[in-house]
């Protein structure tokens, strides 16, 4: 604007000066009256609109009346022929988003502009009109829009195409009629028109797989000029590849050559898009990855931060699945640790942690220590998590990694960061027995000077469970009692509980614990005193509470066997009266799907969540859920629950998956059903299971699901008996049966009458791997030697022709369902032979270790030597049986 809108304030220096200083909504709305002047001052009007837009942009809102007034005033401005003013009018109308009856007022003016000779008017009027219009008006302007799509001015064509993309959401049937014009526009010479046309064409056809595939086939032959359009094409191509991933036998992937050719494109955005598409191909092989990794490696040393970031982020993702493919970039990666951009540095570090081998750990840790001090907490958390997984991968290195964690624990940091460290230490303690004493000691030191009550209480709780099992429990008492003296009431109370746990488990410490607990009887806080009194009575065993030793331990260490939500509702409903609250009246059934299950796959185990109380893992949650069902309570201890197996395609009417629960003499199938139709209520949902192809199984019980309303998942169960301790296998076919009732979604009430119906589900199998728990050992050699060769069995097998060694290794590991130790599930590229170390627990709680040596020859014949050691010869044989029959 040429002249300042508000007079400059002389007191201010030039720095703080703003043309909008002291602007006020009421005054500007007054000013807007100039729109009604018979002699329009275009410049003045533009300035007022700018002020209005400034107000809106600063977050000011107009009332309905104000907005309507401004809108009507603005429509008057169509009389002016000033182009600049017209542009501002367009902006204003879009900002005001007028209501339907207001739209009619400007429709004619906008339609006039749509057919103007000035290209800029046409383009803008199209965008404004399409933005504010509804379906009825659209049919009237459709003809003009179709014309505009093939307009020779690219700005006009783009405006129409982009508007088409938006309108497709609301009026698909109209936009779909424009296919021919859009197709013509795809051939446009103007880069952006091609981009917009391709985007719209794909969206029109996105539900027609064949059409998308045709589109990709014709365009990949090379008529796309614009880099943006090329990026789109790459996305559509990888979509087509995903959906046609069947042809694995020949090994040739369709369109891969196209993606590879894009790696040589002159635009960096296309190269990146293609490289990323290749790395994200499902089941991508190292050979397919190589060219993509090579271009990304070049990006790593670019002078542009955005390029380095994009490359290192992509490589970081690749490192999760194909660490060996990324090792070539390690040198470039290491130089990025000192990158100015801390996001890039953090990604580089975590990538190195993923690709590193055992020997490079110490050197890496040294580099990271220097790096940690100058990055933000959120990055530190990422690094801590990477170190945790590194430690689980190389348990022998626990000492240096644990030392690192404890040293950063002593440094400054916020809650989330400290929690991540503590969680990591807890997980390491749980998984690496050798690390336990050292780790507990670090935690003890931490709570001496910990500002977070939550972390202190969690650590105390964990200490109570783990501390008594160590070689010298007495050394922890001092740390715990110090909390009672120095901390706030919440921490004091949990320290009291922890003391009691030591007392309950270790008789020699009991007298000393009593002295300490008695001191707590004079605490100023009710909760602390109450706990101390309770524990003194329980542990004292002087008959007051009259509980046996076992009860005491159950009380201290056992978990609450009712869901907290249910307990909360019951407590809310409880009215104070003579009758005491009875915890056994709280319902045990979990209403919706157990929370833990939804996040089970992929999520890292939460460390402190509640170390032994409450469902930390899906397994615990399942056990609780199942034992609450009387029909299944007699089956004994749950051995293993499988990951959910989908029995329906995605986006069908009813989504069902099954979890296989294995007991010693039974299996229970838990069918998780979700009803995705708002107009239906299902009742009495059962699964009819045909076990004719599973001879050793016989159905003993089934528990139908009473009701299954829309979008609220529920479970139906079927139980089978099978020979005790035997890993019986078989195939099961399933039919979902139910009574369906119509629901009026607006009212939410279901009809009285229902109709019986059924729904075919897919088959699934119970396989040998279902009887194997994945349990890792930290030091395989040690465990192997300890197990001894008494029940060893060694045999050799030919696996026939395989795509690659890595594929053969992962297939065998999957068949056995065992845990790969020390990272031996990863096969170096180009390796001719490989040894995998596996461990697990077989049904009947028999520990099993396996050492498998693989070899591959020229024509890709794979042979393997399998050595199994276990505590039971029969089990060793059974493992061989699995491989022989698999």
């Amino acid at each position: 604007m040429a002249e300042p809108l508000v007079k400059k304030d002389d007191d201010r220096d030039d720095e703080d000066y703003s043309p909008f200083m002291g602007i006020e909504k009421g005054a500007v709305l007054q000013e807007a009256r100039v729109f009604n002047d018979p002699q329009l001052d275009a410049r003045r009007c533009s300035q007022v609109i700018t002020k209005l837009l400034y107000l809106l942009n600063q977050g000011e809102t107009f009332t309905k009346i104000e907005a309507t007034e401004v809108f009507f005033a603005v429509t008057k401005l169509f009389q002016s022929k000033d182009t600049g003013l017209r542009r501002m009018v367009y902006l204003m109308i879009k900002e005001l988003s007028p209501s339907a009856d207001e739209v009619i007022i400007v429709t004619s003016s906008l339609m006039k502009d749509m057919n103007s000779k000035t290209d800029m008017y046409r383009a803008n009027a199209i965008r404004v009109l399409c933005r504010i219009t509804d379906g009825t008006l659209l049919t009237q302007i459709e003809r003009y829009l179709k014309q505009a799509i093939v307009d020779k001015n690219p700005v006009v064509a783009s405006a129409a195409l982009v508007s088409g993309i938006h309108l497709l959401q609301t009026n698909p049937e109209i936009v779909k009629r424009w296919s021919n014009e859009v197709q013509e526009a795809v051939q446009s010479r103007a880069a952006l028109v091609q981009f917009h046309a391709l985007a719209l064409l794909h969206q029109i056809r996105q539900n027609d797989r064949l059409a998308v595939s045709k589109l990709v086939t014709s365009l990949t032959r090379g008529s796309v000029r614009s880099p943006l359009a090329q990026c789109l094409l790459i996305r559509y191509t990888s979509q087509v590849i995903r959906e046609s991933s069947v042809n694995t036998q020949t090994g040739e992937r369709p369109f891969l050559d196209f993606l590879e050719s894009c790696l040589r494109h002159k635009a960096e955005m296309v190269i990146l898009e293609a490289a990323r598409a290749i790395t994200e191909l499902s089941g991508v092989t190292s050979r397919e990855l190589t060219p993509a990794i090579t271009v990304l490696q070049l990006f790593l040393s670019s002078s542009k931060p955005v390029l380095r970031f994009a490359a290192v982020r992509t490589l970081n993702k690749v490192a999760m699945t194909h660490p060996l493919a990324v090792t070539n970039c390690n040198i470039d990666m290491e130089s990025l640790i000192s990158d100015q951009n801390r996001s890039i540095a953090t990604l580089a570090i975590t990538t190195l942690l993923k690709t590193g081998n055992e020997s490079s750990v110490d050197r890496l840790m040294k580099q990271i220590t220097n790096f940690m001090s100058d990055i933000a907490d959120e990055f530190k958390i990422v690094v801590v998590e990477a170190i945790r997984s590194l430690c689980l991968k190389f348990p022998l290195k626990y000492r240096s990694l644990m030392n690192f964690l404890s040293s950063i624990l002593r440094e400054e940091g916020g809650f989330e960061y400290k929690k991540a460290i503590v969680d990591s230490i807890v997980i390491l303690i749980k998984d690496i027995p050798e690390a336990k004493e050292g780790g507990l000691f670090h935690l003890c030191e931490f709570i001496e000077d910990c500002e977070f009550t939550y972390l202190s209480t969690q650590i105390l709780h964990f200490l109570g469970n783990e501390g008594p099992k160590t070689s010298d429990p007495s050394k922890y008492i001092r740390y715990i009692y110090n909390r009672v003296i120095l901390e706030n009431a919440t921490i004091r109370a949990s320290a009291v509980s922890t003391l009691a746990k030591f007392g309950a488990l270790i008789d020699s410490l009991k007298p000393r614990i009593f002295v300490l607990l008695r001191r707590c009887l004079y605490d100023s806080d009710d909760e602390v005193r109450d706990r101390a009194t309770l524990y003194l009575n329980m542990l004292g065993g002087d008959g007051l509470v009259g509980e046996t030793d076992k009860d005491v331990k159950e009380f201290l260490f056992g978990s609450l066997d009712v869901p907290l939500v249910n307990l909360e509702t019951s407590l809310r409903n409880y009215e104070a009266s003579e009758e005491p609250f009875d915890i056994s009246t709280v319902p045990k059934e979990v209403k919706s799907q157990p929370h833990a299950e939804k996040k089970a796959p992929g999520k890292k185990p939460s460390g402190l969540g509640a170390p032994s109380s409450g469902p930390t893992s899906a397994g615990d949650a399942f056990e609780k859920l199942l034992s609450a069902i009387p029909e299944f309570s007699g089956f004994g201890k749950l051995f293993k629950s499988s990951a959910p197996v989908e029995l329906t395609e995605a986006e069908t009417e009813y989504a069902v998956n099954v979890v296989k629960h294995i007991y010693d003499g039974h299996v229970v199938f838990q069918y998780n059903c979700t009803n995705t139709i708002p107009e239906q209520l299902l009742e009495n949902v059962t699964v009819f299971v045909d076990a004719s192809e599973a001879e050793e199984f016989s159905e003993v019980a089934s528990k139908p699901l009473k009701t299954l309303p829309y979008d609220s998942p529920g479970q139906s169960f079927v139980a089978f008996e099978k020979p005790e301790g035997v890993p019986a296998v078989g195939k099961f076919s399933n039919l979902l049966k139910f009574i369906v009732k119509e629901v009026d979604p607006s009212m939410g009430e279901a009809d009285e009458e229902g109709v019986e119906d059924e729904y075919q589900l897919e088959d699934f199998e119970v396989v040998s791997a279902d009887y194997m728990l994945k349990v890792g050992v930290s030091n395989f050699k040690h465990a192997w030697d300890n197990m001894g060769a008494d029940c060893e069995r060694v045999d050799e097998y030919g696996l026939g022709v395989r795509e690659s060694l890595a594929e053969a290794v992962s297939a065998v590991i999957n068949i056995l369902g065992m845990q790969a130790c020390e990272g031996t599930d990863v096969v170096p590229s180009n390796a001719r032979s490989h040894t995998s170390l596996l461990s697990g627990v077989f049904i009947g709680n028999v520990k099993v270790l396996a050492r498998i040596s693989f070899g591959i020859d020229g024509p890709k014949q794979v042979a393997m030597k399998l050595a199994v050691r276990s505590e039971d010869q029969a089990v060793s044989d059974a493992i061989h049986e699995i491989v022989a029959s698999g």
Binding site: K81, S116, A199, L232
Partner: protein, 177 residues
């Protein structure tokens, strides 16, 4: 991944993190306070970095933020975390270049506010409801600038087009009934 590259927001803030001009294209931040909170965290997370030569990048809360600073102005462009960073950077560069051309290389907060109409038109020509319209700075600036230069064509041309327009208007009205 979104099938079409999408911009979630464009922010132009001053050296204290205050708004000069902002545009939001998604409902990720539905309230005014959510928007302000987001702007604040974007600003503080990038404040200490040097983005004066090359565009810089940061990722947090599931968003990719590419940004560039000049004088007391901070340019930000925000996309989803699965977006192609280089596409976002290209759009940012287009915005940055266009503003430079429109303000005749005198790019600072003062002249941006004095020419806020040009900045707003510029934003309007770059992204339409999240979809990228144009990435080339000179083209964007050209589209914005033409509006000020050629005011209406010749008189005769006007009368003819006016007559045509009135006829069309008539037609449209009768259709609307």
């Amino acid at each position: 991944m979104e099938s079409c590259p999408t911009v979630k927001s464009i922010l132009l803030l001053d050296s204290e993190g205050k708004r000069v001009a902002v545009k939001y294209y998604t409902d990720d931040w539905s309230t005014h306070s959510a928007k302000l909170a987001f702007e604040k965290s974007v600003f503080t997370k990038t404040q200490k970095t040097n983005a004066r030569n090359e565009a810089e990048i940061v990722m947090f809360d599931g968003y990719i933020v590419v940004y560039k600073f000049i004088q007391d102005l901070h340019f930000f462009l925000i996309g989803g975390d699965d977006e192609n960073e280089l596409i976002l950077a290209a759009v940012l560069q287009g915005f940055f270049d266009a503003v430079g051309l429109l303000l005749r290389n005198n790019v600072d907060k003062k002249s941006a506010l004095e020419n806020l109409d040009l900045i707003l038109l510029c934003l309007d020509e770059i992204v339409d409801r999240g979809i990228i319209l144009e990435t080339e700075g000179s083209v964007i600036a050209g589209k914005v600038a033409t509006s000020g230069l050629d005011s209406a064509g010749s008189l005769t041309e006007q009368t003819i087009s006016q007559a045509l327009a009135t006829a069309r208007e008539h037609l449209a009205r009768s259709l609307l009934k």
